[in-house]
Symmetry: none
Subunit: 142 residues, 4 copies
DNA sequence: GTGGTCTAGACCACA
DNA sequence: GTGGTCTAGACCACA
């Protein structure tokens, strides 16, 4: 069962953190179609956030077509975001695991690692089609 | 000069996005001590957000000891977060650039790439000291 | 400006009523792209429902791509649902106005009128393609 | 036998949908005094909702004086809502059937048709007695 | 001033 | 028991 962690000091709304963590789990295949998300009550017990906030996140996921809230039953995954290439035993996965291990061993913090990857993504997307999926295009000035 | 990109619709407050992007640039050494941040006016022109929002972010950065707001002059970096190991020409950088290129070539989206790295970080930190810097510790249940 | 009316005894959630009334106004062209919806405060003054409930409705409309919530500014229509054929001066409009007038004159209640139209729609859609847009297909038994 | 269709996703509670559909059938004369409603079991088979939900709706209809629940026998219509003017072969019925056919032929969706009729009703009732039966009076501001 | 998040708590819908 | 709506109120983000 997915284990949400809410970082209360990050400035990112709690419900956004739940949505993001759920989407990541879907992309990684950690959550599959039919899987049950934790009940609001369980999330409350684990994270000390309010059940309304959990439901707000689940509703957003529902409107994104990823889960279904069934009253009296629970919340269930209805769509996968799993990617070929991101499986547990794929070469890319093995490589990144290895790379992260070395980065951490060299003393880099979690934030350093994410900064390096983000920088690599930015550099890549600037060189290629800048409207690659996932990177928000620059906002036009109004 | 750092080029902020605000993703309205991400749910993350605009000022948080500015702070995060600035910190990443500091970690990567893209911004160095003495460098000038864009003026609020320039950011407004580039992102269509309100100058107050930019100043809010700069004040947060100032309180974190990273920049200094000099009235009438601008905002300047006062502390580096650059890491040995994250330099432009370090092996880790070359490897991650290469890895990202291959991941993108295999059709993975930006979000997939970030999900894979986050998963690798989570797995690593769970195996080692789970209170590694940067990863918020689990909240205690109340 | 659109004038919401909440029927508290209908069993239909208040936020759904706001969403439905807004969509109807968009379909009729009563609301156009760029138009401002009433502020939450104004709706509260007019309907005695809670501002959170209004915002819940506006958020749903935003996720449907119909409006944009701009903090500090208000909520604005971003997409029209206006239909050729439904304009104020179209033959269909004139005919239905006339028909409603006669139905009411014969003593039929609002609910009777809606029941007759719904019945006519059901009959029509059963004869033609039953998956015509707007009518939910029968749910498969599980 | 009346054929209930539950639109999950409409935001309208399932039991309200059953009540509304039953009332419409009574207004149209599709259901007459003495007619039997489907058993909860039959509705469950057709709609995949829980029998308790069906019973909840039937109890509401009973309290409205429209049906009677007879233990072991079933649920029976005890009162008609049929209206002169709404019969199958009335001029108003023929006209609305014709009008709906043309509206659909012009590409209008079910929701467009209902929006047009609702707009016509609103316009009519605003001009005449605004407390016409069936339209909820405006809520007084608090 | 306008929208946004979050909470606690009441009550409801559904299984 | 699980999700859903609504409220009042506190505090925040943004213009």
């Amino acid at each position: 069962m997915i284990d949400y962690r809410i970082d209360r000091g990050s400035g990112v709304p709690a419900y956004v953190q739940i949505v993001e963590q759920t989407e990541r789990a879907l992309r990684m295949g950690f959550l599959k179609v039919g899987d049950k998300l934790p009940t609001a009550k369980e999330v409350v017990a684990a994270t000390a956030i309010n059940p309304n906030t959990v439901l707000r996140a689940y509703r957003d996921l529902e409107q994104a077509g990823l889960v279904e809230l069934r009253r009296g039953l629970g919340t269930f995954v209805t769509r996968s975001l799993a990617r070929p290439g991101a499986e547990d035993d794929s070469p890319l996965r093995r490589e990144v695991t290895d790379w992260v291990t070395r980065a951490r061993a060299e003393g880099l913090e979690r934030a350093d690692v994410l900064a390096m990857v983000t920088a690599a993504l930015d550099a890549h997307d600037d060189e290629h089609d800048s409207h690659a999926p996932g990177r928000p295009p620059p906002e036009p000035a109004r």
